[in-house]
Amino acid sequence: MNTAALFALFSLAAEGGQAAVFPADLTAEDAPPLRSYHGRVREGQALPETLPSWRTTMSHGLELLTSAEYRAKLDQCIHCGLCLPACPTYEVFGTEMDGPRGRIALMRAAAEGRVPAAQLQGAFATHIGRCLACRACETACPSGVQYGALYEVARAVVEHGRVAGPAERALRWLGLRQLLPHRHRLRALARLLRLYQASGLQRLVRRLAWALPRHLRAMEAILPPIGPAHPPLGQVAPAIGARRGRVALFAGCVQDAFLPHVNAATVRVLQRNGYEVMAPPAQTCCGAAQLHAGDEAFARDLARRNVDAFLSADVDAVVVNAGGCGLSLKEYPHLLRADPVYAPRAAHLAARVSDLAEFLAAAPLVPPRGLVRARALYADSCHLRHGQRVVRQPRELLRAVPGLELVELRQPDRCCGSAGVYNIAQPDTADQILDAKMADVAASGADLIVTANAGCHMQYLYGVRRAGLCARVLHLAEVLDKAYEG
């Protein structure tokens, strides 16, 4: 595994309209099996789907589209248009098909059989592909339309229908199946990239960035400075002061490998608040990227592994410091709804999952004493704000930090353009969204951007550099950690 492979992987994972995601000609037999499940499967229970059907056919997607359940969800949309101003792509394109209502109209038309099958890979795929899945429209919707659930199916239809070249298929397989779910491989890659940064090669590449292919350039641009430490999971960090309980940390994949200091800070902050912290080593990637890419079966497998890993840990709560992963975990009951064994277990886990800010704000915070002098803005993660509806808590925590002045963006509910791998898949659109965001940041006069999700964190690092601003980017956990260190 090398840098180029990772770049290629992401650029493919994200290709949007043109690229194919799934190897159309691979069969279930060709698919490499997962090595094993780390979780415990009780005697007598059916084993989960260890060999995911590698290629779900397009007709399967169409079945989903035309199901009564899906039609009922579509019918909730009364096309009032109140979602339009909330949508970042509607702001960029100003066209109905690039807003939530238009996308739902396309889904509805497809469900009614009014989009010719061949066209599902045309305009339909283009406009579904342009969606950031930020779910700001869900917050805006007066009728409670579950856009995320609708979008997921449309996305699957698009992905399933795609035909791609062998190299792309192989790389996607590599990235989504062979890399993201494997902590040690990702960490090894991070160490390589650290070498790339330390050697000065990155400086050279960035100078010559214009010569890189667009997606590769976008990929390179969001690479954060990688720190040295990758602590092993599985150790128990003791509570400091009066013990309040025991929690498990969800470490994440990219977060764990590329932003290890955020996880370290998270653990320390939880310790300071009286929690014993452990991170079950059997945990893996949350599966959001795979689900988004249309590989539901594999995403379900990852979900089952996580359910097992965390349910077997004896903890009061599972704390997640990335908005995207947290939402993914909270939605496991939906993902595993058809699995009679795991649906109740997923519900059990989801009930204990808590975002870091949500978790800390639910109990009196051990007051931080150290001064963090900054004019700070809190950059909402869409999946935290719109998906999990956690808006107030991170702000309350920041207000508790001495010396820190909290300012608001003009449009705090607006996506930064990161959106999973959107910034690599649709780099031009993402850059337009980011530029608007950075203009908003500049206008706020903030010198500290506080993030709550790995993707946003990397996007803001890139945004600050792109806009030439003098602002630090820190995760909420890092800010609290600094305040505790004093």
């Binding site: 009364i78 979602c83 339009l84 100003g94 066209t95 209502r101 109209a105 396309l106």
Partner: protein
């Protein structure tokens, strides 16, 4: 249809013809559907004009679309054609000094309001869709919102529009100045649903953002009880910013869904919000509270904090979402009745719903009689159910019409209610609308088929209670047409006499109080409205009065004042009749508080010169069914028809009124101070700069007692030492007036200008005395410029005024001058600053330019005139046409 020649006009990225992409443009927020052949995204008015020219050449239907939030199918391409998607035209410019915003059609309502609020200003029309909906769409449907009761609807804030006409010409109707001498084509376009022209830009009036609001929520046993309480609030002379009501069913549904803490088991919940100066909202809400308690409020909660207020509104705003939880779809009915008929209408509506076996809840704007039953649709694909829903919808609107209301208060007609138009309008009224459409759009390419039904559907009209019967018609026609002065005593007689005279080839002059006719050429006959006198219908609870055109305003006011009500109009001349005032639309300074004549006129019965009689408008504030015809007749100087009966909005008499008179040393200081005062004017009813004398020869109207008092009393030497006065009147609640004048006094102190506060006169009286004092040989002119340009106009016009006395209405940007020697120089100065100068009266034989203005819409105006009065026999020479 081939669209590719369009690519010579627009960039390919501005044209969508992909059939899959077009699927997203099939609907707006309503139920009707239609597939366009293409969608274009113009980026400038010029591009819109080019597209319209192209469409006109090819006969392609054009449907202007903003955010597609309309509920009546107005933006649906029913007959194919091109959708003109105007969202890229979204520039907004604010002129806080003139309180005018210039917004392009695609600008979003809430964005505009946000910009205005940042300047301390406020754009009141607030439809529920305001987050998304555009100014162009708001104008197309004449959008309303919860704050209409106090603030009126969109049309009351549209000072002018730039439109692309059906032939592709760009024209401006109205504009940034007030009272252009034109037919009010702006008022006609507003609510025209894109069938008369494509609005690309609008000049919008803003008001000061009220510095304080206070909100309460009250529970009642029944809708009737809550309705009675609302009536009591109105009878008590209070004008809350909004009064929203929810019925028992929807309260239960909302509470189950959003848990906002609504009173449980209430038969109705009422939300009342008052606004004003900080010192006034407390007493206002306390008074409302007292009234509600006295009228059976069970549970009453006054929001003490912003969070509590949000909580109350959260309940109301959760209605749609709550309904969506109960059924996949709902049908939102929109109808209006005179407010006092709300409870009985609701009972009738509930009976209809039971008969049709439908479930529904009610939310409504209780202040203005706008009801919105939300009918649940359990299965949108169930045709039988949809048919039942539609049948119930129609029956509900029939009830509204029978009660004297409208088939749509704020959503528009579009496709949805087209077939209901004949319920409300007679064939003649529909024909008049068709004629207007044909004049504006002879090819029928602009939003074809919308609003007005095909002729075959006419004659379903429901006679409502408010129709004026033409009693005593033919048999009393004893007038001798040889006599040159006709004085009919009934509307029917007036109509017949007018028709007979014109049919016999005679020219007819309409005379009201005879207050302004020196400039008019003689006509064969004079038709006096003197016999059309008296109140025809008076509904204080519904805040309207219908009077005969010949009723002197003073007589009407005297009658209304017995109930502590008034019509917010003023005229300089004691003999002025209501008909004359409306026809001339001469706006007193009080319009800054109450709107202009066009805004006060709700409805009128009009005898057209060709013999037809129509009733324009309805006695409700919210009525967007068809074209807003009353606007066309207000200010048309009687050239389009004879107004026989007029329905006016009335208001409680202000409880307090006071005037601040200041004496700035020179004009520069006066204008600077006036600009400063305008910034904070909230309940002001006049802001004037007055130069009362020509060269210090004495005051304007020495015979008036108040003026004597002024000289003898508090300001003994006012006009001996100063040639300029600044007059600032505020009226309303005592606390509002006190606060506002305290603010004004502080501004005076800051500017180092002396001032004194008096109970009388009001600014509008000063204005009236000034105009009424003009001698028969004096030229009186009115110059209008965008208000922010008034100081520049005053400075530039000074040489031409040569010290002539004037009154400048600062808020409206109007300058009234008496005896100015050089009229044409003032006309030039006004024109150069975006305005005009019209001669109101002049010595006989005046031969100069009377109007000082050439409207862009002059050809349309002449076409309208020709259509109804082809030989120009009605009021010849009375107006610019």
């Amino acid at each position: 249809m081939k669209l590719h020649p369009l690519s010579f006009i627009l960039h390919p990225s501005q044209i969508v013809t992909d059939p899959v992409q077009l699927l997203t443009y099939e609907v707006d927020a309503g139920l009707d559907r239609g597939r366009p052949d293409g969608v274009v995204f113009p980026r400038s008015a010029e591009e819109v004009a080019q597209v319209v020219r192209w469409a006109a050449a090819h006969g392609v239907p054009l449907i202007a679309r903003g955010a597609g939030t309309g509920l009546a199918g107005g933006a649906v391409a029913e007959h194919g054609g091109l959708i003109l998607q105007l969202s890229a035209l979204n520039r907004i410019e604010l002129d806080p000094a003139g309180r005018i915003a210039t917004a392009e059609a695609g600008a979003v309502n809430l964005v505009l309001d946000g910009l205005a609020r940042a300047e301390g200003l406020y754009f009141p029309p607030d439809p529920s869709s305001q987050r998304s909906s555009t100014i162009g769409g708001n104008i197309g449907t004449n959008a309303g919102g919860p704050h209409c009761f106090k603030y009126g609807v969109t049309t009351n804030y549209v000072a002018g529009v730039t439109v692309v006409l059906a032939d592709g010409r760009l024209a401006r109707f109205g504009g940034p100045a007030h009272d252009y001498p034109e037919y009010d084509l702006t008022g006609l376009i507003t609510g025209g649903e894109g069938t008369l022209g494509v609005v690309t830009k609008a000049y919008l009036r803003l008001v000061r953002n009220p510095p304080a609001v206070k909100t309460l929520m009250a529970a009642f046993d029944s809708v009737e009880a809550a309705g009675t309480a609302v009536s009591a609030i109105i009878a008590g002379g209070l004008v809350p910013a909004t009064m929203e009501m929810m019925d028992e069913k929807i309260v239960r549904i909302i509470e189950d869904y959003a848990h906002p803490g609504l009173p449980s088991g209430a038969g109705a919940v009422l939300i009342v919000e008052v606004d004003g100066h900080p010192a006034s909202v407390g007493p206002q809400i306390a008074e409302v509270e007292g009234i509600l308690r006295a009228h059976g409020a069970r549970e009453l909660r006054v929001a003490g904090t912003a969070a509590e207020r949000d909580q109350i509104w959260y309940a109301r705003k959760s209605a749609a979402g709550a309904m969506a939880r109960l059924a996949p779809a709902y049908y939102l009915v929109d109808g209006t009745v005179p407010r006092s008929r709300l409870a009985e209408t609701l009972a009738a509506v509930n009976r209809i719903l039971v008969e049709h076996e439908l479930r529904a809840g009610h939310v409504f704007h209780a202040g203005d009689g706008n009801l919105h039953p939300l009918i649940l649709v359990d299965d949108p694909s169930d045709r039988e159910l949809i048919a039942r829903v539609q049948a119930a919808g129609r029956a509900i609107l029939e009830v509204c019409v029978a009660a004297g209301g409208s088939i749509t208060g704020e959503h528009g007609v579009g496709i949805e209610k087209r077939a209901f138009m004949p319920l409300m309008y007679s064939p003649a009224e529909l024909d008049v609308m068709r004629e207007i459409k044909a004049i504006f759009d002879p090819q029928g390419i602009l939003n074809p088929g919308k609003v007005i039904p095909p002729i075959s559907d006419d004659s379903l009209k429901i006679e409502d209670d408010a129709v004026q019967r033409n009693e005593g018609m033919s048999q009393s026609l004893t007038f001798n047409l040889q006599s040159s002065i006709l004085t009919p005593s009934t509307p029917g007689e007036a109509t017949e006499l007018l028709h007979e005279s014109i049919a016999q080839g005679r020219t007819v002059r309409i005379a009201g109080g005879g207050t302004k006719s020196a400039l008019l050429p003689l006509a064969d006959m004079t038709l006096s409205t003197a016999g059309l006198r008296g109140v025809r219908a008076y509904a204080p609870a519904d805040l309207y009065v219908t009077v005969g055109a010949g009723t002197p305003l003073a007589e009407l006011q005297a009658e209304l004042s017995r109930d502590r009500m008034w019509a917010p109009l003023a005229s300089p001349w004691p003999a002025a009749t209501v008909g004359g005032i409306v026809a001339a639309a001469l706006n007193a300074p009080l319009r800054m508080r109450y709107g202009g004549v066009r805004d006060v006129l709700l409805a009128a019965t009009v005898a057209l010169p060709d013999g037809r009689t129509i009733r324009a408008g309805r006695p409700v504030v919210k009525n967007v069914a068809g074209y807003d015809l009353p606007k066309l007749f207000a200010g048309s100087h009687g050239t389009l028809g004879l107004l026989t009966d007029l329905t006016l909005k009335i208001a409680p008499l202000p409880r307090a009124r006071a005037t601040l008179v200041a004496l700035p040393e020179d004009l520069d200081r006066a204008t600077a101070l006036a600009a400063r005062l305008l910034r904070t004017a909230l309940v002001a009813s006049a802001l004037l700069i007055v130069r009362p004398t020509a060269g210090g020869e004495g005051p304007v109207a020495p015979d008036r007692a108040w003026w004597r008092d002024l000289r003898a009393g508090s300001l003994p030497t006012i006009f001996d030492t100063s040639s300029l006065a600044l007059i600032y009147t505020a009226e309303g609640h005592q606390e509002d007036v006190a606060d506002e004048l305290a603010e004004a006094r502080a501004a005076l102190r800051e500017a180092g200008v002396a001032g004194v506060q008096l109970d009388e006169p009001a600014g509008s009286e000063v204005w009236g005395i000034f105009l009424a004092g003009a001698g028969p040989h004096e030229t009186v002119l009115r110059a209008g410029v965008p208000p922010q340009n008034l100081p520049a106009l005053l400075a530039a016009a000074e040489p031409a005024l040569a010290g002539a006395p004037f009154v400048a209405d600062v808020a409206a940007g109007l300058l009234y001058a008496r005896g100015a020697p050089d009229v044409s120089a003032i006309q030039t100065a006004a024109r150069e600053r975006g305005g005009y100068a019209a001669v109101l009266s002049a010595p006989p034989g005046y031969a100069g330019d009377r109007w000082g203005h050439v409207p862009d819409g002059i050809e349309l105006m002449r076409a309208l005139k020709r259509r109804w009065d082809p030989h120009s026999r009605l009021n010849p020479g009375a107006f610019i046409v």
